[in-house]
């Protein structure tokens, strides 16, 4: 601890001990505790106590009967725990009988303060910190803490109850032998007393009839197997598994959710050999005993396990698929066997299980779809994957929700009534359908997929979020449509679909709902990015009104839509898909788009469209877009000039990105890490460095970068710093340029930069010569600046000294603020 803090500490302890000085802000206490933790982790707690007797005094003060705030009391208990975590310090505190007084019956435990959950929580956390060494175990046993912790498991405060459970797990782990200790005996008598007590309590709870007690026991065990993988855990499981399995005998199975968590935690534990302790059998029994809603998460967990018997995996997968199998069975046109997901839906499993209520049915279906979606990309997903039936189920669900299904059975009609217009199921099914696009399917089913997607895109009742998901799923299915070898164009079926899709997209671009227009534009951008170069797509798109409508949306009243329109137009233009606008106000098509985007950049009142313009411009520069390539310098100079004055820091940062692309192209070394970089058409410089730097000077790139270096927004300054460092590194390697450090011009630039740094950015730098730039670059302490910028903005205020001062200042001990107190 530094001397300044040591000096402030006694005053602070006095304030904390004074009930008349309440601490208004308990985040200060948390910070203070964090600071003590840092100190004790780095050094000796004993020395800390000895060097700062005020701390012990503070702890002793807590024992006096007085009206202390519960926050301060909880803080003191936690502080005592942190200090006593080191055994020598523990002994030191024990000498004064301080710990039994704090944590035993004599302390808050027996007093009125115990009614406050903050104090109970502080008590638990104090013990949690303290329980780090064998002496602590004895202490816990002596002061009867374990019994108190048992009772706190039922605390009215969930935080306290949960912390009590975790403390039990911690004490159990501490009391049992570590990995080197060898496997303990199964005999309870051989276990340490503390462990015996805790395990006995768990056993008792598992035998209880009250669900909350069983839940607590299961949660403690789940945490134990999740955190500790020592050999004794296997012994523990062997001992407790009959009791756990016994829960399955009850109907309904109590605390099913916690039971699932425990079984999965055990199955995942590397410390347990699953096959030897009957776990697979228990899992199989649990799967068959739980309701579909409860069994779903267990089935997913089992399927995610790396090593698991095939039969159990098959059972789990069947459980997971049950709800969808029911949907297919209920909606099958033929009342006989559905023919899909055969064997999964048994006679006992009927649609009735899905139907008790709309909420239950919707919840189960959404969870099932989400589980399957999670499973699909995993390497251990079930094989063979029933792609076709799942596609069928997803399509059926969407048809049921959209009202286009025509079920003939009563169950099907009832299901239709429950799901009709259900946005939750629609969203989940569309997400799932999109994920399924990674596999293939029979042509007939794929046709149905596109049909149902088109139905959703067309339907006036599709909500904006559903529509967005329908667009996303459509894009994924178009991506996955079979490709002709050697040709990246869409296949004939997809092109036919596109012909139906574009009129729908046209209509959606005219929607009164801005979210819909926005999703439509995003979809267009994605499609153009992928197929913009392909003849079939180009032909269909150009034959539609879509490009024209997109251009009109550049003037949309909603800024998000304008931003998406900018991105879409940028993409269309890159692919040569912009229709030259007719009319006198748009002479020359493409050129007018550049002008229009520049207009948006300089005049749009919202940040999003301006950011989008900068991104488009950067991409155009990177791709050597025809309009940009014509006069790149003029383009870059114009954009940088507008961007430098933008109030939105993201626009300025994007300006630096554009500057970097230009710089790289000028110096001839594109960044290799950028996968989308295209080799620029700009020729690599052949002349000396000065010549290479001339274009940068002409576009006033340096003035832009230097101004950004002192930007009030840190990310901009950081980016500029990176750019200048990159440039300095480049120029350092080719040291042909003569430095002119001493020239008067350099001095004036440096003086101007100092003024800029001080906040006065009024004065321009004027024309800069390459030599002057290099000299200024070398004279700037860019590394230092980079370091300073890397610090978080509150690093000065975060110091412990500042914290102590703040705490003292709030209660007025430091004076100075007294005049303000009234």
């Amino acid at each position: 601890m530094d001397p300044e803090c040591s000096q402030l500490l006694p005053a602070l302890c006095a304030v904390l001990a004074d009930p008349r000085q309440p601490m208004a802000d308990d985040t200060c206490l948390e910070k203070l505790l964090d600071w003590f933790k840092t100190i004790t982790e780095a050094g000796s707690s004993l020395l800390l106590l000895q060097g700062n007797p005020c701390l012990v005094e503070l702890l002793c003060h807590m024992l006096k009967p007085q009206d202390l705030s519960s926050r301060v009391l909880a803080f003191s208990l936690r502080l005592a725990g942190v200090l006593a975590a080191q055994e020598d310090c523990f002994q030191y505190l024990q000498q004064g009988e301080l710990l039994p007084k704090l944590f035993g019956e004599a302390g808050p435990l027996g007093g009125a303060a115990w009614t406050s959950p903050t104090v109970r929580s502080g008590w638990i956390q104090g013990l949690r910190s303290l329980a780090q060494h064998p002496s602590a175990l004895h202490f816990l046993a002596d002061c009867g803490a374990v019994d108190t912790i048992f009772s706190l498991q039922e605390d009215s405060s969930l935080f306290v109850a949960s912390a009590a459970g975790q403390l039990l797990v911690h004490i159990l782990g501490l009391s049992m032998p570590g990995p080197a200790g060898g496997p303990p005996s199964l005999q309870a008598g051989d276990w340490p007393a503390c462990a015996q007590k805790i395990v006995g309590h768990i056993e008792e709870s598992l035998r209880a009839t009250a669900t909350p007690q069983i839940t607590q026991a299961l949660n403690v065990l789940t945490t134990t197997f999740g955190h500790c993988h020592d050999p004794w855990t296997q012994v523990l499981w062997v001992r407790l598994s009959p009791l756990v399995a016994g829960l399955l005998e009850k109907d309904p199975v109590p605390a099913a959710h916690s039971l699932v968590d425990l079984l999965l935690s055990v199955a995942r534990s590397p410390g347990l050999s699953s096959s030897s302790c009957g776990l697979w059998e228990t899992l199989a029994r649990t799967l068959s005993h739980l309701s579909p809603t409860q069994a779903g998460p267990l089935a997913l967990g089992i399927l995610k396990l790396q090593d698991c018997p095939q039969a159990l995996r098959a059972q789990a997968f069947a459980v997971l698929l049950q709800p969808l199998a029911c949907v297919l069975k209920a909606t099958a046109q033929d009342p006989g066997p559905s023919g899909v997901l055969d064997g999964i839906v048994g006679d006992s499993m009927t649609a009735d299980m899905l139907l008790p209520s709309k909420a239950a049915c919707v919840g189960l279906l959404c969870r099932t779809l989400a589980h399957l979606e999670l499973l699909l990309p995993l390497p251990q997903r079930p094989c063979p994957w029933p792609q076709a039936p799942l596609l069928g189920a997803a399509v059926t669900l969407l048809q049921l929700c959209g009202g286009s299904a025509r079920p003939t059975s009563d169950a099907g009609r009832h299901l239709c009534g429950l799901l009709l217009g259900c946005v939750r199921v629609q969203r989940a099914a569309l997400d799932f359908l999109g994920t399924l696009s990674e596999g293939t399917g029979p042509r007939e089913l794929v046709t149905q997929v596109f049909a149902v997607l088109l139905e959703y895109l067309r339907s006036p009742d599709s909500s904006p979020t559903v529509l967005k998901k329908a667009f996303q799923a459509t894009f994924r299915w178009l991506l996955s449509s079979p490709k002709t070898p050697g040709c990246w164009d869409l296949d004939p079926h997809a092109l036919l679909f596109l012909r139906d899709l574009l009129p729908v997209l046209q209509k959606r671009l005219c929607s009164p709902c801005w979210e819909v227009r926005d999703s439509g534009l995003e979809f267009l951008t994605q499609m153009t990015r992928h197929w913009g170069g392909q003849a079939g797509f180009r032909h269909a798109l150009l034959a539609s009104e879509v490009p024209k409508l997109t251009e009109q949306l550049l003037r949309d009243p909603e800024s998000y839509v304008r931003a998406s329109a900018v991105t879409a137009m940028g993409q269309l233009s890159s692919q040569g898909l912009c229709v030259p606008a007719a009319g006198p106000e748009h002479p020359g098509g493409q050129q007018s788009l550049l002008a229009e985007l520049l207009h948006i950049l300089s005049t749009d009142s919202e940040g999003f469209p301006r950011r989008a313009v900068m991104q488009v411009f950067t991409q155009w520069l990177r791709d050597s877009h025809a309009d940009v390539a014509g006069d790149t310098e003029q383009f870059v100079a114009g954009v940088l000039q507008v961007a430098s004055q933008d109030l939105d820091w993201e626009v300025r940062a994007q300006g630096l990105e554009l500057a970097l692309v230009f710089l790289e192209q000028t110096l001839g070394q594109p960044r290799s890490h950028c996968p989308c970089a295209v080799t620029p058409a700009v020729a690599a410089p052949v002349g000396p460095l000065a010549q290479a730097l001339q274009p940068l000077c002409r576009v006033r790139l340096f003035e832009f970068a230097f101004r950004a270096l002192f930007d009030c927004d840190r990310p901009v300054a950081q980016k500029s710093c990176d750019l200048l460092l990159f440039l300095r590194a480049k120029t350092a390697s080719s040291g042909s340029l003569q430095e002119s450090r001493s020239s008067p011009h350099v001095a004036s630039v440096e003086a101007a930069l100092q003024r800029w740094q001080a906040g006065d950015q009024a004065q321009p730098l004027g024309d800069l010569e390459p030599e002057v730039v290099l000299a200024v670059l070398r004279s700037l302490d860019l590394e230092g600046l980079q370091g300073a910028l890397a610090e978080s903005s509150d690093h000065v205020e975060k110091s412990p000294q500042s914290l102590l001062q703040d705490m003292l200042a709030t209660v007025g001990v430091l004076g100075g603020n007294e005049a303000d107190c009234y």
Binding site: C416, K507, P512, P557
Partner: protein
């Protein structure tokens, strides 16, 4: 007491029912089914060579005697005559006996002149002011549309039943064509409307003292109402054309519908699968798409109602869609009145619109559209419109059946170009049938029916909320639509199941309670001496004269007994009044058998035997050969001609009972 309901209209959204309730005959709505006009050729404003050159229709055997009356267009057959309307049933009940007609909204009064002017009706019609004013506009527009293009020809041959059988569908299946009538005249309209008495929401109107009717806001249109029809002990709610959506009218009053014995439910949405919000979005998108491509948009519509909401949506949308320069035209003989009326009925509008009036601002934004020249309105396409007309544009005009009105002209004008679009928003007519005489048609057709009336989910919630004992509805609502038989959600689902009716059917409404309210005169009430027979329950006997007049019942004090002596006059007066016998006191209480037997024994009776029966006890006095039957509500003493004994026993029985 039975309350029959006579169904005179088969159209669930254009109802016409007659309810006989408490000796009052009440007609509920007076809707006119105009779908019959779809069987007729359109009435063009100017001579249409296409329509006049349509080939006449001939029978399969080549017989062409109907070719003057029936024309064929793209495989459909139409009657070439002035369009006619299908009237409500006039034979089921003598309509001259109808006491009152209650109108729920302006769409449901279009048959009024046929009823009030041609059936001997002499009662009163009740409706709210906006209903009457806008109803007048709708009738005026209808009469104007038909009268301004007089057609000499009137077809009647085809209506002959033997001939009708030979015609193709849908003419073959048209019902009661012989009763179809031409449109009424403006004179008849004025006369019909003069019989209307204006009412306000929640106003209680007494009908002959027996029944009270009250209109409640139904949330569907300006001034639209549901009606409560109640006596003291029975309540019938008539729910017709209601909406729970937030549009321009005052919200629906649901609370007052509670505790109904019977709830008659009509006028639900005609397009239960179309969500109005989605349809408005669809309307805007298609409109913008067409106009941006240089096409014109035609919106066939009524001059009031949804058009206000559409204009409001467009007001918010046109700037964002870049349509600020596109002219919107509203053409109707009553366009001006409709737009102006909507702005003055502030008290009938939803809360948001009402508050605008106090700012003061016009409640509907179409005022601003008119001010900024974005919306222009004309009485007809002749005159100013032709000089202002500029394309591309959006035209709102009637009639939605596409059989008469200015819309016919625009269909002929724009139908040939695929750039143009006709957007159907009114749900009353099948758009495919409406378009049939215009085929082949190049213009795009979009169907965005906007029907804000209750859908089945809302009905289900409403019924749960108001919990009527019985629901009565048209038969169409008790089963899913024929085209969507799997949609069990598209029908009324309630317990007990709804009772249904169909055209020309009479239904007895179920009422359980059979009480009447009787008033008691103060002086008579003063004379009563109540006696408590159970805690909280007191009884008093009353002797009075029941006086019944105008369905009101009053108990008056009985006249004093006639004086034995007196003049002639008095004597005569006393002859007029009913005889008032000296009344025996009424008895109450129960006879405790054991105590009764003890009392008998005390009074010297012996050899007493008690038998239990299903209803009470029998006390046998074997010696006296006498039987006393004691039951819950009667006691009989059966003895053999021994009046003395009977009286003795009677007095002993009476000791155990209270008298009053």
């Amino acid at each position: 007491m039975s309350s029959p309901e006579y169904c005179l209209s088969g159209h669930p959204t254009l109802p016409c029912n007659v309810l006989k309730f408490k000796s009052t005959t009440i007609m509920l709505d007076c809707g006119l089914d105009m779908t019959s006009t779809l069987n007729f050729l359109p009435l063009p404003l100017v001579q249409s060579p296409r329509l006049s050159n349509l080939p006449g229709w001939s029978l399969k055997d080549g017989n062409a005697f109907l070719d003057k009356e029936l024309k064929e267009c793209s495989g459909h057959v139409f009657v070439d005559s002035v369009p006619e309307f299908c009237l409500p049933e006039t034979e089921l009940i003598d309509l001259s006996t109808v006491d009152v007609i209650l109108i729920s909204n302006y769409h449901c009064m279009m048959a009024l002149p046929y009823i009030t002017e041609h059936t001997g009706f002499s009662g009163t019609v009740y409706a709210t002011e906006p209903t009457v004013q806008i109803g007048r506009l709708l009738m005026e527009e209808l009469v104007n549309f038909i009268e301004r293009v007089p057609k000499a020809q009137s077809a009647s041959l085809w209506k002959n039943k033997d001939i009708q059988r030979l015609l193709p569908s849908p003419l073959k299946d048209a019902v009661e064509v012989s009763t179809w009538r031409r449109c009424y005249t403006m004179q008849e309209v004025n006369s019909a409307l003069s019989k209307i008495q204006l009412v306000g929401y929640s106003q209680k109107i007494e009908l002959f003292g027996a029944v009270q009717v009250t209109p409640l806001s139904s949330g569907y249109a300006l001034g639209s109402s549901n009606w409560i029809i109640q006596s003291h002990y029975e309540k019938v709610s008539y729910v017709s054309g209601s909406s729970l959506l937030t549009t321009h009218p005052q919200p629906m009053d649901q609370a007052s519908l509670k505790n109904s014995d019977v709830l008659i439910l009509t006028g639900l949405t005609q397009i239960p699968t179309a969500n109005p919000d989605g349809m408005v979005g669809e309307f805007c998108s298609n409109l913008a798409l067409t106009v941006r491509n240089g096409g014109n948009v035609l919106v066939p519509c009524y001059p009031s109602g949804v058009i206000y909401d559409l204009l409001e949506c467009l007001y918010q949308y046109i700037d964002s869609a870049g349509l600020s320069n596109i002219p919107f035209y509203f053409i109707s003989p009553v366009a001006n009145s409709s737009l102006e009326f909507s702005q003055i009925f502030a008290e009938w509008l939803c809360h948001n619109k009402q508050t605008k009036v106090y700012l003061p601002e016009p409640p509907f934004p179409h005022a601003e559209l008119i001010q900024t020249n974005k919306l222009k309105h004309y009485p007809s396409l002749h005159g100013d419109f032709s000089s202002d007309f500029r394309q591309p544009c959006v035209v709102f005009t009637g009639h939605p059946s596409l059989r008469f009105g200015d819309v016919v002209h625009f269909m002929e004008l724009w139908g040939k170009s695929s750039l143009n679009t006709v957007i159907f928003t009114e749900p009353d007519f099948s758009y495919l049938e409406a378009l049939a005489p215009y085929q082949p048609l190049a213009m795009k057709c979009i169907y965005c029916p906007i029907d804000t009336r209750l859908n089945f989910i809302q009905v289900s919630k409403l019924l749960k909320e108001v919990q009527p004992l019985h629901v009565v509805c048209p038969e169409q609502y008790t089963q899913p639509p024929p085209a969507q038989s799997h949609r069990m959600d598209l029908m009324i689902d309630c317990q007990p199941p709804a009772m249904s009716y169909r055209r020309a059917e009479v239904l007895a409404l179920p009422f359980k309670r059979r009480y009447e309210k009787i008033e008691i005169m103060p002086e008579l009430a003063d004379a009563l001496v109540p006696m408590e027979i159970k805690p909280g329950i007191s009884l008093a006997t009353v002797s009075a004269v029941l006086h019944t007049k105008d369905n009101k019942h009053v108990l008056q004090p009985p006249p004093r007994p006639a004086q034995p002596t007196g003049g002639k006059k008095r004597k005569r007066a006393s002859e007029d009044i009913p005889d008032c016998k000296v009344l025996k006191p009424l008895l109450s209480g129960s006879i405790p058998v054991e105590q009764f037997v003890q009392t008998l024994e005390k009074h010297g009776f012996s050899d007493i035997k008690v038998e239990d029966t299903a209803k009470g006890h029998i006390v046998l006095l074997q010696e006296a050969e006498t039987l006393i039957q004691i039951e819950e509500d009667s006691t009989h003493i059966i003895c053999d001609n021994d009046e003395m004994l009977r009286v003795r026993l009677r007095d002993l029985v009476l000791k155990f009972l209270q008298k009053f």
